[in-house]
Amino acid sequence: MADARSLGIFERMILIRRFEEAVYDFHQQKLFSGHYHLYIGQEATGAAVMASLGTEDRIFSTHRNHGHLIARGADPKAALAEILSRADGTNGGRGGTFHLSAPDLGMPHTSALVGGAVPLAAGAGFAAKIAKSGGIGVSMFGDGCFEEGVVYETLNLSRLWKLPVIFVCENNTPGAVLKSAGGNNTSNLPEGRVIATPRALGIESHEVDGGDVEAVDALFTDCAERCRRTGEPIFIEALSERWPGNFYSYPDMVTGTTDMSMAWNDAGIGGEHEAWYREQDPVLRFARTLIAGGHATADDIAAIDAKATRVIAEARDFALKSPTPGTQTVQAHVLAGRV
């Protein structure tokens, strides 16, 4: 893995982490209401997947979409403004945390309904097939989607119609990695693995440690190339250790604001979440890998983090300054071309 590529991925990962810390802070300050979901703990998967995607590709995300947008290169300013549903937000303040999107970056629509975006991504593959654009559709979704029938239908259809789409199931079930040994690895599939269903439908299927950047990048690069070439769907189950702060509707920053120095100085590491800091946090984990592999020094990492922190600080100011959308336009865009 070339330095530039791996450092690029790492930059996105730390940017996602700092972004999500800002989102959490905004919610604590009651700057936006309702439940919301953070991507902390899954940064390696999103950042590595996006590294192999081009402008002609389309990505569809879920209620846990923030990290996917940042990984794809969306402007944290507009993204954070959308978290606050402000006028300068990615959706003009109409979508909020559930629906961040970036049509200009090939992320046209984000569904907050479980399994809602999976067939839409297959549709992007359908469009690429018709337009012969060379692009592929990518669905980033959670393990819970395997409880929704429409996802099963979509897997079957993508195989039947030969749609160029890659289904990336981010399995963050508590203990997913351990359970992948064979037990129940999603809360509501009593037996087998979510991967058993796409396999049963004859879809090329892989599993990977979603916390291992290099593993995800290597697998996805290969899959993306094959998907473009053959036009056939591929399924990937990315198993990630669930971030201890990921609770059902409201996250809790139990692991605190990330201290990057833990990557090279473990003196302060301990307590209830020691395993998280030492082995599981994908950002710290990749930082250690980069240092160990001689791709970066502790100072390089610190500098990248400082830059990300600065970018997010600017984005916070931007979002907070952005006005609330005017009521006079609230009826616009219900139907295209009609007022």
């Binding site: 389309r58 979508g95 049509p103 046209p108 309904l113 839409l120 991504a121 119609w161």
Partner: protein, 323 residues
């Protein structure tokens, strides 16, 4: 002018649009019941084979896949078949197709056409006789076309395919084989423009789909007794031509709405409340709705005819508001 069937007119519209635009695709169950033999069906099968997809029985996923493709400018026509089947994809149609444009603040469009066959078909029984138009009309962001004759069917289908919005195109099983004069060559009929299918001074009958045909029949019987009914064919529900409705009621002072949905929160409820809110003073008598009775549709065709709106009930309602 040549005379062709409603179904043939639709096949012609789809075929023309596929020829005009290489991004128009068709999910091929049966094309609104047009058999082989039809020249347009044959042309679609031969010339556009690579844009036809055979559907498994997966309404939800197909509607959403077509929607996702539409966001990238690929316009898919998906004849879902019996309107009842559409309820399997209700979430995808209402929450994804219907919401994409608004949620993106106008940057994304979802030009997809869902074609369904609604209504009392003669033995369709409880689960194959659904009229989904009123439920759909309650959902923002979806255009609804609902023709009553072959000529309108063709022009509206062309408009539906070219529209940048998701459109639900609602046909009636009993219209499919009906024939009518259809102009040669391509033409579009804009949505939101009602058509006065019959002029009259005494009572306004607002209808769509098969109910227009039934209203015309009722109008003949009424005319025999000197009651001249004016028939407003809505042709599209979204957008709605409120002006045409109010203009006619202004002229006649009396209103009947014929609708195959069950009464509660129906198309008839909506038309009547529009008039009550915006034109109550125009009414010389209380309006009347003629809906499918508030029951499921029994398989027995005598009962089916009895629970449906129909020439006799429409006529009786018109007499009542005039008397």
């Amino acid at each position: 002018m040549r005379t062709i069937s409603h179904a043939e007119a639709l096949a012609e519209a789809v075929c023309e649009c596929m020829a005009e635009d290489p991004k128009v695709t068709l999910v091929w169950g049966s094309l609104m019941g047009v058999g082989g033999g039809n020249e347009h069906v044959n042309r679609i099968k031969s010339e556009f084979a690579d844009r036809i997809f055979h559907p498994p029985i997966s309404e939800a996923a197909i509607c959403a896949i077509a929607t996702g493709a539409a966001m990238d400018g690929v316009r898919t026509v998906f004849p879902i078949g019996t309107a009842s089947f559409m309820f399997r994809a209700w979430d995808q149609i209402v929450h994804e197709a219907g919401a994409a444009h608004y949620m993106s603040n106008g940057r994304v469009t979802a030009p997809v056409v869902f074609h369904v066959v609604h209504g009392l078909r003669g033995g369709g029984s409880v689960q194959h006789s659904q009229s989904p138009q009123s439920m759909l009309w309650n959902a923002p962001g979806i255009e609804i076309a609902i023709p009553s004759c072959p000529a309108d069917a063709k022009g509206l289908m062309r408009t539906a395919i070219k529209s940048d919005n998701p459109t639900v195109f609602i046909d009636h099983q009993k219209l499919n084989r009906r024939t009518g004069e259809v102009p040669e060559g391509p033409y579009d009929i804009p949505f939101g423009v009602a058509d006065i299918k019959r002029e009259g001074r005494d009572v306004t009958i607002v209808a769509a789909s098969l109910q227009v045909v039934q209203a015309l029949e009722a109008a003949e019987a009424l005319a025999a007794d000197g009651i001249e009914a004016e028939i407003v064919d809505l042709r599209s529900l979204v957008p709605l031509d409120e002006e045409a409705i109010l203009k006619s009621v202004e002229k006649t002072g009396r209103l009947v709405v014929a609708d195959e949905c069950p009464p509660r929160c129906s198309v008839a409820s909506e038309v009547i409340s529009v008039v009550a809110e915006k034109g109550m003073d125009l009414l010389k008598a209380p309006p009347k709705r003629v809906n499918r009775m508030p029951v499921h549709v029994p398989s027995n065709t005598d009962l089916e005819d009895f629970v449906g709106p129909g020439p006799a009930r429409i006529e009786a309602a018109a007499r009542a508001v005039c008397g």
